[in-house]
Symmetry: C2
Subunit: 337 residues, 2 copies
């Protein structure tokens, strides 16, 4: 294998003594005579020839890349989604282009514009916030897009989302079944898509069960540090017998704050998180968590996009993933596990 620094169809063709068309055919597995195939393979191997992706893309109009836009590459729930999406699209022969959009909604708009440059064949995106303008940009995108989470009004796109209300119901039912009656809630910012949905779920779940006692504190964001502060604020107000948290990071924060205040988990206070990420297991006791189906959402989103790439005119599909509850030590005695 010689220097692959260059080496194009032309060079391989010369070396093999055939036309560039024949080389192209052999490289793409199209029918060719034994003899030509042989010579081309040999020449290609000697030259270390590898077809150029860019040129191919320009010609065929596909990049074999899928873009993924998430707000925070570091958030465990996005990490899990990324891993799953990476798995699915890689298996289908696509590369994954990662766009960390950051918090600023303007980044999302920029991303959509730049997507029209055609560096990817499609986009999977999970917006934290959905401003008006996002909707119009989505509508004018020339590439297929799958949204994980709520759609902006008027956008008819393939979509996958969680059922936060059902998820909250699972958590509250579980806690009520343990005889808990003062169920507090640590949420993230309420002006985000998940924040709004989870608060909604909390209120509905309590209302449905006739529970009047409600206490809610909003953390500044969905991080552990913000959770520490929120939990401290919450416990200042009094001690509930259960705390539901809008994600697992907030739940671990609540657990640690409560423990440090001398409260026994789960005896004095039961704690339930959401998302059921890897870190729910790391806590001591491990944290009961509502799996809102992040992994399944990711997988479904990837499949929806792949399907649309194959059939651009297929009917729009909107999938709701049903939540499940994984019970661990933070909300129930060992012997009940």
């Amino acid at each position: 294998m010689a220097d692959p620094r260059k080496s194009t169809l032309v060079l391989v063709a010369e070396r093999a003594g055939v036309s560039i068309a024949s080389v192209s055919r052999v490289m793409n597995g199209l029918p060719a005579s034994e003899r030509v195939t042989e010579r081309v393979r040999a020449a290609a191997a000697e030259l270390g020839y590898v077809p150029d992706a860019t040129a191919r893309s320009l010609k065929v109009g596909r990049t074999e890349q899928i873009a993924l836009a998430v707000a925070d590459v570091g958030n465990p729930v996005y990490v899990g989604m990324m891993r799953e999406i990476s798995r699915v699209v890689t298996k289908a022969g696509y590369r994954l282009v990662l766009s960390s959009t950051g918090i600023d909604p303007k980044d999302q708009i920029d991303l959509l514009v730049s997507l029209n440059r055609g560096y990817a064949d499609g986009l999977i995106m999970s917006p934290l916030r959905v401003p008006e303008e996002l909707g119009t940009q989505l509508r004018s995108s020339r590439l297929p897009i799958v949204i994980i989470g709520s759609l902006p009004p008027g956008a008819e796109l393939d979509n996958v989302r969680a059922d936060s209300v059902a998820g909250m119901a699972l958590a509250v039912d579980h806690l009520a079944a343990q005889g808990r009656t003062r169920i507090a809630f640590v949420n993230g910012p309420v002006d985000t898509v998940p924040g709004a949905a989870r608060r909604d779920g909390y209120l509905k779940a309590l209302a449905a069960r006739g529970i009047e006692d409600r206490t809610q504190v909003d953390a500044r964001d969905f991080t552990y540090q913000a959770g520490l502060k929120a939990a401290a604020t919450l416990l200042e107000k009094g001690t509930p017998d259960a705390i539901v948290c809008a994600n697992d990071l907030l739940a671990i924060a609540a657990l640690n704050v409560a423990t440090r205040r001398g409260l026994k988990i789960p005896d004095d206070v039961a704690i339930v998180g959401m998302d059921d990420t890897d870190i729910a297991d790391l806590a001591n006791p491990a944290i009961t968590s509502v799996d809102l189906g992040a992994t399944r959402r990711a997988r479904t989103a990837a499949r929806l996009l792949l399907r649309r790439l194959e059939k651009p005119d297929a009917p729009v599909r909107q999938v709701v993933i049903e939540p499940t509850l994984t019970v661990r030590g933070s909300s129930t005695k060992e012997e009940n596990l």
Copy 2:
């Protein structure tokens, strides 16, 4: 803004009544008369024109993409590195293509071959294992590559690595200073690059301090589950007064296993992790951890690659990042913090 479904230089040029070259110039900010600039901008806006990335890449020979290959997208230390690399390369105008190579070393080889298709301008890679063949493939790559971690023998590449020996020394010194004398070690697989380096560091650190007592257990991999098992095995053998762990996940596992056995942390057993990832803070007590500079390594690697893309002939640079120790509750009493 009209339908952007197509719209090329030609269309914009027609609409603006100028040549395609003029459009290209305006779009790239090259000098052009006021009048032409104006007309082109207007036409482009009306047509929703966005330059095609693929065609541009083919022409200029650059994709403005950087590939990142890591073994496990889910591992917290890689997540941190990803985030940092994403930040740096994005700011420099590059997109990040994520390649999760998996455990199989063959994946890495495949990746290097496919990289020669030219879908990215360079590669950052952090191999878990470094088989012979990887070296030869690295040498025959036509694109710049920066390796995070050990280099295969004979590869002269830009490189960033941690100083595991110094890191272990930090951990051991810290523990010895607390009067700990029976310092055990929970490692990951010893046939991986980090596993070998950390064992090496452990042995050297103990030897340098004349500590004879050594106990080591290797977890099956660097995950929490494997850590639980390894820690249990370790504690079966007897109770050390300190445990150093090859990463934070293993450390949390050790902490939880020890706690459940009724041991007090840090009084009975001190625990020190490595990598100083976000999760070190989540544990209760929080875990003292040796920061092997994952974030700095990532940032440095990204910068080295950007530099090489600018100056292909710059001298090879190999950087060693010095570790630091972040002391938390798992290895020292509150009052000493």
